[in-house]
Amino acid sequence: MNKRKIVIIGNGISGITCARNIRKNDEQADILVISGETKYFYSRTALMYIYMGHMKFEHTQPYENWFWEKNRIDLLQAWIELIDFKQKKLICHNGTNIYYDVLILATGSKPLMMDWPGKHLNGVQGLYSYQDLQLMEENTNGISRAVVVGGGLIGIEMAEMLASRKIPVTFLVRESNFWDNVLPQEEAKLINRHIREHGIDLRLSTELEEILDDGEGNVKAVLTKQGDTIPCAFVGITIGVMPKIDFLKDTDLEIGRGILVDPYFRTNMKDVYAIGDCAEFKDSIGENRKSIEQVWYTGRMHGEILAQNLTGPNEVPYQPGVWFNSAKFFDIEYQTYGNVPAQIPENVETFYWEDQSGKVSIRFNFLKHSNRLQGVNAFGWRLRHEFFDQAISEEWTIDQVMEKLDSASFNPEFYKPYHRLVLDAFNKAMGKQIRFKKISFLHKLIGSRA
């Protein structure tokens, strides 16, 4: 293989996964990863834990610093201002030119912002980057109330972060229940309760109207569309993220909301690819999949597949398998496998079970006529990824799933056997007599997994 120079812009999970996998398959290539944010790769999803004092920044770095030199992956901390696609040249913020043979854009996202009056005031910010975290540290120092706007994953994390510092939080959510554009009613309400259990002033069906100035350019309060004024010194804007592609706007690169790519992550420019949060698929990549995927796992898949395509004998298109995702809402973990939309479709039947504690639940969606499993939502209950990947891709019926539910749990040992309660409830609701396979005492004693 000839020695080529592969330059990756962005050292998040997509870019780094791609760099590592290129190196695994290609001893020769020069690999350079450029990021203006931090020199070393860190886990973006762990930013909240730095603020909460669970970890320090260095703990969020998945690889020790010697790793990059050992694997001959060059790192450069710089912002790219401009790309000259004709000359295959990158221009850095300090004027340096960098030439590439292959360019991979993995620039990630930036917080979405709306045109609210007062959005530029000190104390108003989103949370995506390391710099955002540092700013939040400054902005929240010694304040007596914070407002978080936007009921999604980053919003609830921000509320948790602030609450960990004992800062009172008012949480404005436009929807009538938390994240109910993704979660079905029952689950969304379960999380509503948990948010309030943590002392958060959760305001549903509430939108931001204006951010008020204290006269010196700082936040004084927010005004809601309902007319309430909430005094605060910090406003977290967490209504979503969008591809960070501003520096590519006036080039020949084809962009929509993100950088437009085909299923091979190819852009319209030769030898230029885009992966991760910043990529937008021109054509649908599958039923129920979004054209921009802003999830850790998909970013990692993008990186792996592109690396394979750049180094392997034949190129393969991006074909994601069964969808999965997870999150943690304060103390309640959430996992989902397959397709569980917020609104249950006509042809789908759903079985929902909630523990009497109100903190553990599971939902199975299956087709009305064939009983084939479509998707699962679990709260406060860890499930085995392998199990549901198989069950959904092999289209098990709901009865088959229930029969084996005892081996689907991934909770730690000695936890309450929720699967029994679920099976009882299912049998009762459906008038069925499904039983788990008996496990002998000896097998239980030595802890054999079914």
Binding site: N21, S43, H54, S164, E304, V316
Partner: protein, 514 residues
């Protein structure tokens, strides 16, 4: 912090201060009678003569008393050493028992009062602080602010605590004569339990057990809702109280040798020493049981239980060192070094200690059967080197004193020969592993950060690889702190233990393996 907790913390600190001050009070006056009762008959004449200048002399501090004693005693011994009259040199350490006998203070008059205003007060204060912890908070991970805490992130408070612990261990192991008042203070307890006067080891055992109990309750508060952590903590509390503390004392009461039935060679490095063997052999059926039980644990118990459950059955459920690490040491678990370099050092050190312990024991046993001929000198040398360097300095001073500096498992990770033995079994022949959950890892680093053994758990988790490591003690905290449900401690079929799962389940395009 609630008011009651502030009060508790205050009482704890007052108790700790009184405890630390007690060694410095009282007067010391040596009489001939005391020397006669304390020293062995073969030394009686010499000791009576050596210490003559001290009789009826009143000392106002133990420093003066001990200094005078050491001067006289060393003068005698050094003289003999110069003459190379090795047989006449007195090797026994009489400083501790004589200082204890000569002590005359309020402590010896009212030991229980002093016990109450020091240890009991500190325990009471500690409990006042601990019981309200996380009250009214929902179940969940309670790691907020750990890295802002001076105590828990190697700040000034942590360094002070470490220094205090190190000093305490140095006094306990090598200069117990300076803390005789503390031992006198627990005499009545010791007498009630075993009918014998307390030694510094009784004092240590008592404090150790109390630390595990009080901090065990803290574990219940901190990990409420986590059944694995709760049951495991209950287990170490039980084994400490029953097996390490009460049963050995009761054995003493019955005139049997002190024996901890859950301690296993080579952690219990003196198990094959001649005095231990003789003690057991000469104690009838119970003594024989001790010997046979000890050997069964070594050759059958360890491999069998480790095969089924991993080394956790011992290290984080039964062991005394593990028990202290998992309770008193829990606030410091994040301070262990996770670097690859530390792992390399760990492997050399822990297996080096294992080899040392095996060699020493082999020489001891050979020596035993050669009836203390050729190897007598070598055996004694080895015993004293091991006892000093490994048994005291490493396991005690470094092992516990370094909790606030290098994490709570320094000894278990770098030094414990039994952990090394258990680890070899766990690595090569066991059903235990930490299973990772497909592609759910987000590389956040909580698992690695809170691994007390310094395992870079994330390294495996993010590539969908099960964690099979010799050092894992199965505390389960990586699984507890994982925000995405990726880790599960499992004992299951050996097949699939070292899994070959693609990094992400969920991609049909390529299957990238670790």
């Amino acid at each position: 912090m609630k008011k009651i907790q502030v009060l508790g913390l205050g009482l704890f600190i007052v108790g700790l201060f009184i405890f630390s001050y007690i060694p410095f009070i009282g007067q010391y006056q040596l009489e001939e009678e005391m020397v006669k009762t304390v020293v062995k008959s073969e030394h009686e004449e010499a000791m009576l003569r050596i210490l003559r200048p001290m009789y009826s002399e009143s000392y106002h501090s133990n420093f003066r008393f001990i200094a005078n004693f050491n001067d006289l005693f060393d003068e005698y011994n050094n003289d003999l050493k110069r003459k190379e009259a090795w047989d006449e040199v007195i090797w026994d350490d009489y400083a501790f028992p004589l200082t204890k006998a000569a002590s005359d203070s309020a402590v010896s008059q009212y030991p229980l009062v002093f016990l109450t205003i020091s240890v009991v007060l500190a325990i009471f204060g500690g409990l006042l602080y601990i019981f309200p912890l996380h009250r009214g908070e929902p179940e969940g991970i309670k790691n907020n602010g750990i890295y802002f805490s001076s105590m828990k992130s190697r700040g000034l408070l942590g360094i002070i605590t470490g220094t205090y612990l190190i000093l305490f261990y140095v006094l306990l192991y090598w200069y117990p004569e300076y803390i005789t008042n503390l031992v006198i203070m627990v005499d009545p307890l010791s007498k009630a339990l075993s009918g014998q006067e307390a030694s510094q080891w009784f004092l240590y055992g008592l404090l150790y057990t109390m630390a595990i109990l009080v901090m065990g309750i803290r574990m219940f508060r901190k990990y409420k809702g986590n059944a694995y952590q709760t049951i495991r903590t209950g287990s170490v509390m039980f084994f400490q109280v029953a097996f390490a503390f009460l049963i050995p004392e009761i054995l003493m009461l019955l005139n049997k040798p002190w024996h901890d039935f859950k301690n296993i060679w080579p952690l219990d490095y003196s198990f094959f020493y001649d005095y231990r063997i003789e003690g057991m052999v000469s104690s009838g059926a119970l003594g024989m049981f001790m010997l046979v039980w000890g050997i069964i644990l070594i050759v059958i118990g360890v491999p069998l239980l480790t095969y089924f459950y991993g080394k956790r059955w011992y290290c984080s459920w039964v062991c005394g060192c593990g028990g202290l690490a998992e309770t008193l040491g829990d606030p410091y678990r994040q301070l262990s070094d996770k670097s690859l370099k530390a792992w390399k050092i760990e492997r050399y050190m822990v297996h080096g200690v294992l080899v040392f312990a095996i060699l020493m024991t082999a020489v001891t046993i050979v020596n035993y059967f050669m009836e203390f001929g050729l190897l007598g000198q070598a055996t004694n040398q080895l015993h004293s080197i091991y006892g000093f360097a490994i048994g005291a300095a490493f396991a005690g001073v470094v092992g516990t004193g370094f909790y606030p500096l290098m994490g709570n498992r320094v000894w278990c990770r770098f030094g414990c020969p039994l952990a090394a033995y258990l680890g070899i079994v766990q690595r090569f022949k066991s059903r235990f592993r930490i299973t990772t959950n497909g592609g759910q890892c987000i590389s956040c680093g909580n698992c690695s950060t809170y691994c007390e053994m310094g395992i870079d758990v994330r390294w495996y988790a993010q590539r969908g690889q099960n964690i099979v490591r010799a050092s894992c003690v199965g505390c389960g905290v990586c699984s507890a702190v994982c925000p995405r449900g990726v880790l599960k401690l499992e004992s299951a079929d050996e097949e699939g233990r070292m899994n070959d799962m693609p990094i992400i389940i969920g991609s049909k395009s390529v299957q990238v393996k670790s």
